[in-house]
């Protein structure tokens, strides 16, 4: 059996006496549509930070395609193909939509260190950024500043920046958080039409989104994996319903 796309082995992270991640064994396959759910304080964000290299684990390992990347820094992991979006928008608010995506694409294509050429003359970077915006139906907004966009479209720019890194692993931290319900369909459509080869891990509270999107669900409770299975299995699991779904009221 080949190694999974992304794997963690007995991953632990302690903050003082608090174990925010406990012995997490997790596998994300290539092309997977995987969801990570759990009540508030379950350690979802800690887990994402451990995957992206923002945090170092206390013990345990993170592997990308079988290669140990536990000690790789954040920037290095991005180069290896792990990208993320943020729960709260982290955009370059005073720059245009195109410039936002340009920054990500320029890093990936190695254009960013270049000092003596106007940024707009890097046609490869501009073309790819525009192409990406077009596929997300953001082409018409390319010239506008982020601050002028409605919140839902700002969330799409979050996604565009992450996709600009051409990731193999994409971590979506509550992609539709804060989006008014009238706009949320554009996020859902965009998530549904992500390139098939990318392994996507979506971290969310929104059960509609999770059950619509995910082929596999991992439930995290108190920093540990509580259950893993198909949406049907998770939905039918009485323990999961007790700790989590019961309160969310999902049928």
């Amino acid at each position: 059996m080949t190694a999974p796309l992304l794997e963690t082995r007995a991953l632990c992270r302690n903050f003082g006496a608090l174990a925010a991640a406990r012995d997490i064994d997790f596998r994300l396959e290539a092309g997977a549509r995987h969801a990570l759910i759990g009540p508030n304080g379950a350690g979802k964000t800690t887990f994402v930070n451990l995957l992206t290299g923002v945090l170092q684990p206390t013990t345990g390992a993170v592997l990308l395609k079988g290669r140990d990347i536990t000690s790789a820094a954040q920037a290095e992991r991005v180069k290896l193909g792990i990208a993320r979006t943020f729960q709260i928008n982290r955009l370059f608010r005073r720059l245009s939509v195109l410039e936002n995506v340009y920054l990500a694409v320029a890093e990936r294509l190695g254009a960013a260190p270049s000092m003596f050429r106007p940024a707009g003359r890097r046609r490869d970077v501009v073309d790819e950024s525009m192409h990406l915006l077009d596929t997300l139906k953001l082409g018409g907004d390319a010239g506008r500043a982020i601050a002028e966009l409605p919140y839902g479209r700002q969330r799409l720019v979050e996604l565009a920046i992450a996709l600009g890194l051409s990731p193999e692993v994409l971590l979506l931290d509550e992609p539709a958080a804060g989006v008014p319900s009238a706009e949320s369909h554009i996020i859902l459509d965009a998530v549904a039409s992500l390139p098939a080869h990318i392994g996507v891990l979506i971290i969310d509270h929104d059960m509609d989104l999770v059950f619509r999107f995910a082929e596999r669900i991992t439930v995290l409770v108190s920093g540990a994996v509580f259950a893993t299975g198909s949406p049907r299995e998770i939905g039918a699991n009485p323990d999961v319903r007790a700790v989590y779904l019961g309160r969310a009221g999902h049928g």
């Binding site: 982290r90 960013a112 003596f116 501009v126």
Partner: protein, 338 residues
Amino acid sequence: MTPSGARWADHPAAVALAGRHRPRAWEPIPWVLALAFYFVFPKYLGFGTELLITILFAISLDLVLGYAGIVTLGQAAFFGAGAYTVGILAKRGIWNEPLTGLILAALVAAAVGLGSGLVLLRTGGLTLLMLTLCTMALLEEAANLAHEYTGGFDGLDSLPIAPLFGVFEFNPLYPKTQYLYVLSVLFVCFLFVRTLVYSPFGQSLTGIRENTLRMHAVGAPVRGRLVLCYALSAAIAGVAGGIWAQANAYVNLGTLGLDRAATVLIILVLGGYGRLYGAFVGAVAYMALSHFLSKVYPTAWQLGLGLLLVVIALFARNGILGIAEAAARRLRVRRAPS
């Protein structure tokens, strides 16, 4: 990657990005004015030279503060490093050719910037601000103590600077050579910074200023970029300091002082930071204001300057250029009502 890539070049956003580095119609104005000054005010060329050097120094600060968002109060450390490089080499009879002297000044200042930047830029905010101040104070005290080399508190005077290209003498009473020399160096350094801020590197500095966390998340080596920018800015400040020492034929502890560092910060805030030309507008406004205020109220003219700064900080965060930009925008909206 993109099957029909060429068509994106026509998109308005792509056109705007591809064209933003092109010179604007008004951009020759400051340079024409600077040249005109040479012919119209031959008696004030000493003042003009000082003004041009201040602009050059302010541009170096704009690169770190306005573009990369590094808040520093210690920019004079590099000005002084450049000035003492020129001063010590000339005084000891080691090197006194002006142009290569400036290159040496830039290299020494860049080395100081690189060394201190590697340590300082691990921090941010108030800590960084204090550490830049400390670095400068340490250098100033070192220059004070190393009396044998630096002349200590008295500094080094009557520096024997060689004629430019072996022909044009630096005459302290009629600083014609100095003025044109400084103007040319300013132009070259300005072009360098201008190219830099519109490049992908400059774009990534803007990204770091706007959202450091996100730049980490797109895989940018944030600290490396900042250190490089800090060292480049230090090199330009070093050129400003070196040329100041050459033009005045002396160097003293004031080149490393807080006074100089604070003044250049005030100038940049006054003119508008992150705008390249804020340095020009700010320096002219500062010099004109201090001249005017010290005539009106010789004993406490800095009070007026302080009050003006308070007003700028409260109501016009983007300085004089920011006010002008807002006015121009409003005019454009009124002209094209749609």
